[in-house]
């Protein structure tokens, strides 16, 4: 016995790696996640591409499909971080899956790191497929300068961080796992309609633009346009600028708000009395 008791606990890194593999299995084996979270932006990119064809925006040579590609990348990040995490965590809490995890020696930090790693990997695969579709079907030219890829990297990471933090926070605020999807889907749809994902942002009534500017999706989509659309398109934006500093501020603010609420409200059990 004593010889066995001196064996070391599994390392934190191996726990995170194992947790990430498990999360990926759970994501890819779930039909709902694969259709409504993973494939959703691709389906809509192709659908809109088919409907609007090669129509160009104003007097630019940017096609609607190219404009939507940036929006679909943005909404993919929101789907995978916010929508998927909020719904799956609510259901897992409702069905005592979280309580079961809490009963094991798995540290909470390893659990969440594994989950975030899964979100990052799924998002990267999603974006890679969207870009491939863009290049093959809609004549999108991938950026060649490092500056644009740097913009892509920080917008992607900040967007994922904000989406995931708000997603985890939202899961604690939802009382019922079964209702999570019914409550969150219209919210995400509203943001998609008003943030320059399904419609060109500048063609929306200005009061809707103002509402959308409060939420992260508008900034994510604009950030992605700054990466994948020609430089001159900047003048076509609502403010005539890509607004990178403001994008960083808004995404960071949502990340911090989400994180504070998530840490303060997270529960492993349906009802917590501690």
């Amino acid at each position: 016995m004593s010889a066995l008791e001196t064996r070391p606990s599994p390392s934190w890194r191996s726990l995170v790696a194992d947790r990430m593999v498990l999360e990926l299995k759970e994501f890819t084996r779930s039909r709902e996640q694969m259709i409504f979270i993973f494939a959703f932006p691709m389906i809509f990119l192709v659908l809109f591409g088919t409907i609007f064809g090669g129509q160009t925006l104003g007097d630019t040579d940017v096609t609607i499909s190219q404009y939507f590609l940036a929006g679909m990348i943005a909404t993919g990040i929101l789907n995978t971080g916010f929508q998927s995490l909020a719904i799956s965590l609510s259901i897992d809490r409702d069905e005592d899956v979280l309580k079961r995890i809490h009963a094991t020696p798995l540290p909470a930090t390893a659990y969440f790191t594994g989950k975030i790693a899964q979100v990052l990997l799924v998002s990267i695969a999603q974006i890679a497929i969207l870009l491939m579709l863009g290049v093959l079907l809609y004549d999108v030219a991938l950026p060649t300068d490092a500056g644009r890829w740097w913009t892509f990297t920080w917008v992607f990471l900040l967007g994922t961080a904000a989406s995931s933090a708000v997603g985890i926070a939202t899961s604690s605020l939802l009382r019922n796992g079964k209702a999570a999807s019914a409550i969150l889907t219209p919210v995400v749809l509203f943001l998609q309609f008003t943030s320059g994902v399904f419609f060109v942002f500048t063609q929306l009534p200005s009061y809707l633009q103002t509402v959308a500017e409060v939420f992260p999706l508008k900034w994510l989509a604009q950030g992605m346009r700054s990466v994948f659309l020609p430089e001159y398109f900047e003048t076509q934006e609502a403010s005539g600028s890509w607004e990178h500093p403001m994008t960083a501020v808004m995404l960071s603010a949502w990340f911090v708000i989400g994180l504070v609420v998530a840490v303060r409200t997270f529960r492993w059990m349906r009802s917590d009395d501690s």
Partner: protein, 295 residues
């Protein structure tokens, strides 16, 4: 040795929700290597007590030590020594039985062998099945395997056989006995008396948040002093309790000529003792409620 002799030590444990007392002053010691059953009707406070001991809920008052640690502050090292089987089962998992055990085993420093665990719970043939394809009993057996995959010193089993058919329950009991023979301390809750009788070294009976009895199954049985004598007289069944059935019978025989129809002497079962204890507790509660209304 000192406190290390006890796997669980509980003194005056209380848990209140508003003015409802879910657990109302429980004292309890579970020895190492012991199988202890918390028995009681639904809503008696069994699960609340186990959830406090398992580090899921905070207590309102009292002293609790589980494997030498206060479960209000669960640590990773403590969780490595503990196995928990919850009451509910989720069928939503997309992992096969073997995958679930493999992932669980990697959380512990000294896990059991996955295939041996599958064999121990009779799921070798279902190793590649997902939970949706397992029967209720098979899913619960997988849960036991998951609860003990880390080679725990102490296992909590919360109503492990609720909803089982009799055969599945018997198979399950054999499984628990194998665990006990392995030296694992087991705390189980149940509302099945025969389960507690068969498995437990000692039984604690909980009613309305209080421990109304704590004894060995034999000790509980011996609490019932009266035997019941029943017979049919003038077409009606009569049933009388008596501490001296032989004397009672002698009187009865003296009053009757010939055959006494349906004559029977029964000694109380553990169930009678249990129902008496639960009933007495309920009567106390009702009386208290009446007094409150009167006041």
């Amino acid at each position: 040795m000192g406190m290390n002799d006890e796997a669980i030590q509980v003194t005056s444990l209380r848990k209140t929700y508003g003015d409802k007392h879910a657990v109302d002053g429980i004292d309890l010691e579970v020895h190492r290597g012991e199988v202890f059953a918390l028995l009681g009707p639904n809503g008696a406070g069994k699960s609340t007590a186990v959830e406090i001991l398992g580090g899921f809920r905070k207590r309102t008052a009292g002293e609790v030590t589980v494997l030498g640690v206060d479960p209000a502050h669960p640590t990773r090292q403590w969780r490595e020594r503990l196995g928990v089987m919850l009451q509910s089962t989720s069928a939503r998992s997309v992992l096969t039985a073997r995958e679930a055990l493999q992932h669980a085993a990697r959380l512990y420093p000294n896990p059991r062998d996955v295939d041996e665990s599958l064999a121990a719970v009779g799921l070798t043939e279902k190793a590649t099945a997902k939970p949706q394809l397992l029967s209720g009993g098979q899913r619960r057996r997988l849960e036991v395997a998951l609860a003990v995959i880390g080679n725990p010193e102490l296992v909590f089993l919360d109503e492990p056989t609720t909803g089982f058919d009799p055969e599945a329950r018997r198979q399950f009991w054999t499984l628990i006995e194998a665990l006990r023979d392995h030296g694992t301390t087991i705390l189980l809750t149940t509302h099945y008396l025969d389960e507690a009788d068969r498995l437990a070294d000692r039984i604690g009976i909980i009613a309305n948040g209080s421990m109304v009895a704590l004894d060995t199954p034999e000790g509980l049985r011996s609490r019932a002093t009266d035997a019941w004598v029943s017979w049919v007289e003038d077409g009606a069944t009569r049933r009388e309790p008596t501490p001296t059935p032989t004397a009672f019978l002698r009187d009865l025989l003296a009053r009757h000529d010939g055959e006494i129809p349906r004559l029977q002497i029964t000694h109380p079962s553990l169930e009678d003792v249990y129902l008496d204890l639960i009933g007495a507790s309920q009567a106390d509660l009702d009386a208290a409620a009446d007094e409150e209304v009167a006041a």
